[in-house]
């Protein structure tokens, strides 16, 4: 076996450095389906334990919903397990076309193209639609998949301070000599739950002749009065040129993503997007179940309404208990701890209390910004939330962080 010593020593050194810095991530092994309560084996070999899950992207509680499972089973029975093909050869079924059409209707766009994931959609969208004469202006906290996608394109790129519309305007003015300008932003920023001011972004884009691209993965299905996403929340349905989003969060949680927007832009992606041309089609079972998901959420706002109530209730209770929360209204609720080791310790102690919530630290968030990122779900009942708050309060008291703000927590634990 050829395994160069220098390579091995390099990898061992990197792993040891990660552990030394307290940044080593470990997996937990979930034995049950996804839901408000899950059965977890952690560490490996430990007895399986039932806990309340407070960190899934299962915003609408559809990941294991009986109607979605039934639709998936029907899809398996009628459409098969796999297509063994990319889309354009023999990988497109009627269900792919149906889902794309339904997503266009739901999102208020002209055309939609499915991908294996939103990561793939983001890898495609910039490379296909922009060239060296163009520029992408991205929010500095855009998701890693947007950054990666931007770097894959041959367009020039620049960035603006997070959510800073004055800075965005300066950049749009600066790049008026470019052929095409595209503003790229998350609809909802995944680490903080910040919502992009799409109304102001669209206004600036119209003023300075720019396209607007939004990755709405943490919004599709539940943000806005009828759950269409950030564009509905901000009153700009029809004014966003291209939306990428995932089917792997609120929309069932299996996998899949899409590019959805102006017809010619999406049509060009059908012709040239590398993930579309070179990666396997979305599995029939996922496509069929996703059609059911779109039908469920188009027919009723009950789930997104419950999610909104759950998020508000949890925030109120946690603030009353004395936690430092990043303000917001989204179901992503960052419980700020700042110190990576503290975040890991709190996560471990919460687990002992029957609450599953993971600590986030560098490189997932910037150094000194460690947190427990709680995510509420429509699957949570009030009782789940009350138990979670009680556990957080007990653990928070143990670590002496209740009632402390950022400077005080950092003074006590360091960054």
């Amino acid at each position: 076996m050829v395994y160069p010593k220098t390579a091995r020593e390099h990898y061992v050194g990197e792993l040891e450095a990660i552990k030394r810095d307290g940044l080593f991530k470990e997996e937990r092994f979930i034995h049950s389906q996804q839901g408000a309560e899950i059965e977890v084996e952690y560490p490996l070999g430990a007895p399986v334990k039932k806990v309340i899950n407070m960190c899934a992207n299962n915003y609408l509680g559809l990941s294991s919903h009986p109607d979605v499972l039934a639709a998936a089973q029907e899809g398996l029975a009628t459409k098969g397990y796999g297509m063994s093909s990319v889309r354009f050869i023999c990988g497109t079924q009627d269900v792919h076309h149906t889902l794309e059409r339904k997503l266009s209707e739901f999102l208020g766009t002209e055309e939609t193209l499915l991908f294996g994931s939103c990561m793939d959609a983001n890898a495609a969208v910039f490379e296909v639609t922009l060239g060296p004469e163009d520029v992408i202006i991205a929010d500095r906290l855009d998701h890693a998949s947007i950054i990666d996608g931007i770097k894959l394109s041959s367009a020039q790129y620049d960035s603006y301070k997070h959510l800073d519309m004055k800075h965005l305007e300066q950049k749009l003015q600066q790049f008026q000599d470019k052929r095409i300008r595209m503003v790229a932003t998350d609809g909802v920023f995944s680490m903080d739950g910040d919502i992009a001011p799409l109304d102001k972004i669209c206004e600036l884009a119209e003023k300075y002749d720019a396209l607007v691209m939004v990755d709405d993965s943490h919004a599709t299905g539940f943000l806005g009065k009828t759950g269409r996403g950030t564009h509905e929340h901000c009153g700009v349905v029809g004014r966003v040129d291209v939306i990428t989003t995932t089917l792997g969060k609120a929309m069932g949680g299996a996998s899949g993503g899409c590019i959805s927007g102006r017809k010619e832009l999406v049509d060009l992606c059908f012709q040239r997007a590398r993930p579309y041309l070179f990666s396997n089609t979305l599995a029939p079972v996922i496509t069929a179940a996703s059609i059911k998901v779109v039908d469920l959420i188009s027919g009723s706002t009950a789930r997104r309404d419950k999610l909104e109530w759950n998020a508000k209730y949890f925030r109120e209770k946690m603030e009353a208990a004395g936690f430092d929360l990043r303000p917001g209204q989204h179901p992503i609720v960052p419980v700020m701890l700042y110190n990576a080791q503290l975040a890991q310790d709190v996560s471990r102690d919460l687990y002992a209390e029957g609450i599953y919530a993971i600590g986030f630290f560098f490189p997932v968030v910037p150094k000194g910004q460690a947190r427990i990122r709680v995510q509420l779900s429509a699957a949570h009942e009030k009782d789940h939330i009350d138990k979670a708050v009680a556990a957080f309060t007990k653990v928070g008291a143990k670590h002496g962080i209740l009632g402390l703000k950022k400077d005080q927590i950092i003074a006590k634990f360091g960054m």
């Binding site: 500095r140 790129y157 620049d158 301070k161 910037p366 000194g368």
Partner: protein
């Protein structure tokens, strides 16, 4: 005597990267990239500014995170390609 180049770099970095009201002060040796003030993605703005401002082209090899990690280091890079500045 002040260094006009370093002042210009400092002014740009402050306006471009420092959040208003954060209290962050940019000194000649303040670690910009390794200190988390500028990340590798947004560093491209700085490169573009220097190239436009001083009419130079900075090769990618000279525009590394290490080379751009402080006002002093950035000034060295600029003077490598525009010695009269």
């Amino acid at each position: 005597m002040g260094d006009a180049l370093k002042d210009k770099i400092r002014e740009y970095v402050t306006n471009e990267y420092v959040e208003e009201g954060s209290g962050v002060e940019i000194g000649d040796e303040t670690p910009l990239i390794s200190g988390g003030i500028v990340d590798s993605f947004s560093m491209v703005s700085l490169k573009l500014f220097l190239e436009n401002q001083y009419k130079i082209k900075i090769p990618d090899a000279d525009a590394s995170a290490e080379a751009f990690d402080s006002v002093n280091r950035i000034a060295l890079v600029v003077r490598k390609f525009a010695p009269k500045v």
